[in-house]
Symmetry: C2
Subunit: 502 residues, 2 copies
């Protein structure tokens, strides 16, 4: 068989695996949006069976041989070579675990998710303890199977961010703390801003309509995606032509829905920008979670909490919510939505204290992975850390260690990518401002096309062609550097709080 | 390997196939409820891949051998024997078509469905012609592969109703026409009833809430199912614990939503009553489409259009729709919802003229299958028949040959089961009245539990254990007999229209 035919066979096989994987994603999306309660048990079984099948197809001997032939044979163009070498990496990772393990993990995740929903609704972590303990045991086993140096957590971090390690993250978080504290101290010493108006009554239907309008104007294509309500906001996709966002609405909180909408929209814009022609192939996938989060955080914060954006959006917001916002001037609104203040919920945190939320989860996960912390002790540890780092007393598990869905998905090692994503976002947005003529006035006029076009070309279109680091070098001419975030934050909060700190 | 182990292996294998089949059903449900437009192409591919996999798993040599061993070996209890013999029948049918054929058919169905949606929305059959022609060609090929005697349509009828043939249906429809005409003539000669109030303004949200309330009171378990909006109402399920109903709402039509809700609820109650313990096995499936339709039609008509039911429901309806119904007395309402009048839309037809809608589709499908009619000539033939049989001029394809989703699903041979279902419904309801003490007063008091319990035991719990005919014999002590329907209809309309006809 010639190399062209073999590559075609490879493509077809990966597309079929993608069909299965995306079917799983539909089952999961439905599980978190519409599935009735009693559907859970068979749904868990359905997802497990499809996961096992997908794993079997990816790790079967004939596919391994095909990959080896393609790598040995030559004659592939650069794109094809890139796909094959990424598939080979994926193969070496996936073949370390058995189909049976994949099935058990999948079942444990479904069970945990249901337990988390119940526990969260009851505000009682103990209802989640048993399932999380079982799931964590499997994740530890997975780390052992995947292999690691230095720390078992490294094996899991690597799943979301290839090459990411505890030592790298320790360095990042350590270098962050002092400059972050400096800004926070300057803010604390300044006159505070008010944000009470954000907790007035914002009717549900109006919030929904306003969120949809925001996303439309940012450029989300609703003929290739949609939004629904879920317990925890997330984005998923079943091709780049079918991207699903979710949100949640609290009638007494303007922020919750608004910035979760923009955040998920950022994820969604990334997925819609990945070429459909690469469906099923590595180049049809996203680079890494930190780059995914760079997109969501860039839209959420650098764009979505900027004065530029709200010059355009605020008059609209006032029309949607006349009673709550009519008498609040734009300047006050802008300051209010950027108020820095320790709070309980990560997804609602300001851009500065946000990283303490991540840090707490990061340290906690590290300790869980190397058995320094038991699952049953999570609430106590969590509450203790929130008091130590943010000075606040967590009132209950719902506002504490049950707030995030991630652990119920078995996603240990995911949280750090939120911080990395924020740092990439600041660095990318700096590059955007340098590279896009008149970006600021465009945004002020509600024209997000220049920015989206630039992100499409710079980030989205590449799929998984470059690693996070390579992408950063290409876009910014330098590796990840948290100084961009610190500079961005210093300038922003100096303006808002009026402090003199350089 | 002993027989017990083999049977366990058989069960596990079928459960995995069911996991795939139900995943396909989720993808299809999403396709018809929530999927954004551009998602269609990859969704078609995803459904096709999973369909091909499911077919491969069912027809693989090792499964065939397992079935043969189980049939030859003895030592199975009666239930296990029944499962195995039904699986063997399914195997003999499925192995007649190739995996590649299954894939092509699946893709053609997805493409046709999208074309139908567009064509219907434009009211223009020609936009559907190409896709339907391609799909019909595949269905003819399928009939040839499956094999048949006398008429190719028989092969397709047999897919929905084992043993059903053109000659049987010709006989049923022929014997129906004269008694039906007799009742219709008596009605025509009587003073007509009014139903104008059914086309007043019925607000959308109120309709939705009323429909949900109806289904709850009929006994649908919303912890094991839900309802959504779709272009064409349908019921599907992903286990008996997750049953999905859909409906549509027209603000100027009380009937459309109401009886489609009750109809689909009847389907849903059947699925929820099939034992979850038989998940994936033949006995965990429904008997046949005519029995499925007997359940939907029984609830829709024998229950849902009865005076007994509306004595209970009508005061509620008046509370939901005070402006439209406040001044309409119950007697007038009851007569109005049972008004007999030729109309365009099958799902909204009265219980008598309904069968002409089915007859037209039946004759048309027969002609399509033996090449007496070309796809492009469907609208002309359709409109002609509606004028001949019902005396009405079809204004456009939307109210004509595009109204039903079935052909876009490749469902040729499905429609006749609606009439059979109505006849079974009348016969079963007659048995219900004889077997359930005080059924009528229970219904008058909104207590549907005795009826549902009886249907659970008599029909639902058996899954596929009995054929339609066997079930009818067990329940009624006699085979299908359309006299029950004629008697039911004569009594009902004599009461409503006040004619003297015996």
């Amino acid at each position: 068989m010639d190399v062209k035919k073999k590559y075609q066979e490879y493509t077809l096989h990966l597309q079929k695996i993608a069909d299965l994987r995306y079917a799983i994603a539909v089952l999961q999306w439905d599980q978190e949006t519409y599935m009735p309660q009693k559907g859970a048990a068979f749904r868990a079984q359905q997802i497990a069976t499809l996961s096992e099948m997908s794993h079997e197809m990816f790790t079967r001997e004939s596919f391994k041989n095909l990959l080896q032939d393609l790598m040995a044979g030559g004659g592939l163009d650069e794109t094809a070579q890139k796909n094959v070498s990424l598939s080979w990496y994926d193969y070496t990772q996936q073949q370390k675990v058995s189909g049976d393990f994949v099935r058990r993990l999948s079942e444990a995740i479904s069970t945990s998710f249901q337990a988390w929903v119940s526990a969260k609704s009851a505000g009682n972590f103990s209802l989640f303890e048993k399932e999380l303990t079982a799931l964590l045991a499997l994740k530890k086993q997975e780390a052992d199977l995947l292999g690691y140096e230095a720390h078992p957590y490294n094996a899991l971090l690597n799943q979301y961010e290839r090459g990411c390690t505890v030592s790298l993250l320790d360095r990042v978080f350590n270098s962050l703390q002092q400059p972050l504290k400096k800004i926070l101290d300057a803010i604390t010493a300044s006159p505070q801003v008010t944000d009470d108006f954000l907790r007035r009554h914002y009717p549900k239907d109006q919030q929904w309509a306003f969120g949809m309008e925001l996303m439309k104007q940012l450029g989300f294509d609703f003929t290739a995606g949609r939004q629904d309500i879920a317990e925890h906001p997330f984005t998923t996709n079943f091709s780049s032509q079918d991207v699903r966002l979710t949100t949640r609405i609290d009638e007494h909180d303007f922020s919750n829905m608004t910035w979760s909408c923009i955040h998920e929209c950022g994820h969604g814009l990334y997925e819609q920008g990945i070429p459909a022609s690469a469906y099923g192939l590595p180049l049809g996938e996203f680079t890494s979670l930190s780059i995914h989060e760079s997109q969501s955080r860039l839209w959420e914060n650098n764009v979505g909490r900027s004065f530029d954006s709200w010059q355009y959006f605020y008059p609209q917001a006032q029309q949607y919510f006349p009673e709550a916002l009519k008498e609040v001037p734009l300047q006050q609104f802008y300051k209010g939505i950027n108020k820095v203040q320790p709070s309980f919920i990560r997804t609602e945190a300001d851009e500065l204290t946000y990283h303490f939320h991540v840090l707490i989860r990061y340290e906690l996960e590290k300790k869980l992975l190397d058995n320094q912390l038991a699952v049953k002790d999570i609430p106590a540890y969590w509450n203790d850390q929130y008091y130590k780092l943010l000075g606040i007393r967590v009132p209950d598990d719902k506002k504490g260690c049950l707030q995030d869905v991630h652990w119920s998905h078995g996603s240990f090692g995911y949280f750090p990518t939120y911080s990395l994503g924020s740092f990439y976002a600041a660095q990318f947005f700096d590059a955007a401002k340098k590279n896009i003529p008149n970006l600021s006035p465009a945004i002020t006029n509600g024209n997000y096309k220049p920015l989206l076009d630039w992100l499409r070309i710079s980030v989205h279109a590449h799929g998984r062609r470059f690693t996070s680091e390579e992408l950063c070098e290409r876009i910014c001419g330098s590796p990840l550097n948290i100084d961009y975030f610190i500079q961005y934050a210093t300038a922003k909060y100096r303006d808002i709080y009026g402090f003199k700190e350089e």
